[in-house]
């Protein structure tokens, strides 16, 4: 085992930080590190938090972390901010809100930027979660702006997904329709002391009742319909009914209730067998992504070897060949190799 991983397992913060850096940078040898981490993972609860900018995610994460610490649990946080597609630079500001955990090294907070790669970020996040998990963190929180598919993919790597909704604007709730409404296990109406929060809760409830176009409260959405699960607030259905919790994160109001709901969801996952299904799906997705990317890399090399993309594009424009034929040509060597291996 590498020295760095040994140090990480021994609880050295510096080693944990360095492993995450190597993962983020895709530094040579990072795959070996992640491989070694795997057998030490599987003990942490992973919570994903998303929501529009300014909905209070960072403040809520801070309060959640502090409350978990009061319970004697250790916490890891990964906060993701967008980066400039032009310079690659980023200002990562989520750390500013971590006021309740000053100097407490048992809250490990790490800011990450999107670094402009599609798919790459969710892989890096998954791997960073592994590092925190192997380090021994009890709770891991992934925080991201719910702005795009990439971010939604990231929170989906969590076991429980929290969606934050600021009150007062029906438009915000409308925005949630696209994609985010389906992934939330718990909806948090934060800043619940502001005007309009009652209405937001009501609108949210209506939309949740009719999500997936189903009749409210009769059919489970996670395929666990045949199991008889009795979880508080979810007894009338086989699946998990998304819960709505109101908080005022800045003052810590509603945080205890949110924690209870989180625990409830976690209990539901275990009791219903949903956790195992989730886990299988997650690893399947991870393997698929890795294979896709690895093969992609091989083929990018092959493409270069055959003269590069630009040359092919020119030929396509000149009608000398077409995109399908180009793809056939580039993939052919790989297919041939596989045929030979079969014999």
């Amino acid at each position: 085992m590498s020295e760095l991983i040994q140090e990480l397992l021994d609880g050295q913060h510096r080693a944990l930080a360095r492993v995450i850096t190597k993962i983020e940078n895709r530094q040579p040898g990072y795959r070996e590190l992640v491989k070694q981490l795997h057998e030490h993972t599987g003990n942490a609860d992973v919570i994903g938090i998303t929501g529009s900018p300014g909905s209070g995610k960072s403040t809520l994460v801070d309060k959640l972390a502090a409350t978990y610490r009061d319970q004697g649990l250790t916490v890891g946080v990964i906060a993701i901010d967008p980066s400039s597609p032009f310079t690659g630079g980023a200002v990562l500001g989520d750390r500013i809100r971590m006021a309740s955990n000053i100097g407490d090294m048992d809250v490990f907070f790490r800011s990450m930027s999107a670094r402009g790669t599609l798919g790459g970020l969710s892989t890096a996040t998954t791997d960073a979660v592994k590092a925190l998990d192997a380090f021994g963190k009890d709770k891991i929180i992934i925080e991201t702006v719910g702005a795009g598919q990439n971010e939604i993919d990231i929170v989906k790597t969590a076991e429980t997904v929290l969606v934050l909704v600021p009150p007062g604007s029906g438009d915000d709730v409308q925005m949630l329709k696209a994609g985010i409404l389906e992934i939330g296990d718990i909806f948090v109406v934060n800043k619940a002391d502001l005007d309009g929060s009652d209405r937001t809760v009501q609108e949210l409830r209506e939309m949740l009742d009719y999500r997936d176009g189903r009749v409210p409260g009769t059919v489970g959405h996670h395929g666990a319909t045949e199991m008889d699960v009795s979880v508080d607030g979810n007894s009338d259905s086989g699946g998990w009914e998304p819960q709505i919790v109101e908080t005022v994160a800045e003052r810590g109001e509603g945080v205890d209730e949110l924690l209870a709901t989180l625990a409830e969801h976690r209990q539901y996952l275990d009791d219903s067998g949903e956790h195992e299904i989730q886990q299988r799906q997650r690893y399947a997705e991870e393997i698929r992504t890795l294979i896709r990317e690895d093969v992609n890399e091989l083929l990018t090399e092959e493409l270069e070897a055959q003269g590069g993309l630009d040359a092919f594009v020119t030929q396509v424009i000149d009608r000398e060949t077409d995109p399908y034929s180009v793809s056939d040509r580039v993939v052919e060597p790989l297919a041939e190799c596989m045929d030979q291996l079969k014999d």
Partner: protein, 139 residues
């Protein structure tokens, strides 16, 4: 772009320590660093030295830029450096100090392990260039 393509990026922590509410400079530098393609973590105002240590270690930054205009640099900076040493993060972090620092204190800070002190009038390009030249490939 392949998943394994190395994507190394310079990470900086821009830190405000102690009772000093002037952060215009820190903001300007954060933006300049961002536009130079760095990843910048801004600490926010009124941070304790231990918070800066915590952030530097956890974020594994290449550069720690401490902005102090209150005159308390001779107590705050050593505290931060001690903390970094405790976690083994002193050696490979480039420590910069910006603000109003008298010449005598400047020498002292440099002896403690600060790489460079940037006073009023320092140019942004100079700073960015300095960071680029002095953040080595780390193991």
């Amino acid at each position: 772009m392949g998943i394994d393509q190395e994507q190394r990026q310079i990470r900086c922590l821009v830190a405000k320590v102690g009772l000093d509410g002037h952060d215009r400079g820190a903001h300007v530098i954060s933006r300049a660093f961002r536009d130079a393609g760095f990843e910048v973590i801004y600490s926010g105002l009124h941070r304790a030295p231990e918070e800066i240590v915590q952030a530097t270690v956890q974020e594994d930054v290449d550069v720690l830029g401490i902005s102090i205009l209150s005159g308390a640099h001779d107590t705050l900076v050593p505290e931060i450096i001690d903390g970094l040493e405790e976690y083994g993060a002193f050696e490979d972090t480039l420590i910069l100090v910006g603000g109003i620092i008298p010449d005598d204190d400047k020498t002292e800070l440099l002896e403690l392990g600060v790489s460079r002190v940037f006073g009023p009038g320092a140019s942004m390009d100079e700073m960015i260039e300095y960071v680029r030249e002095n953040t080595s490939e780390r193991e």
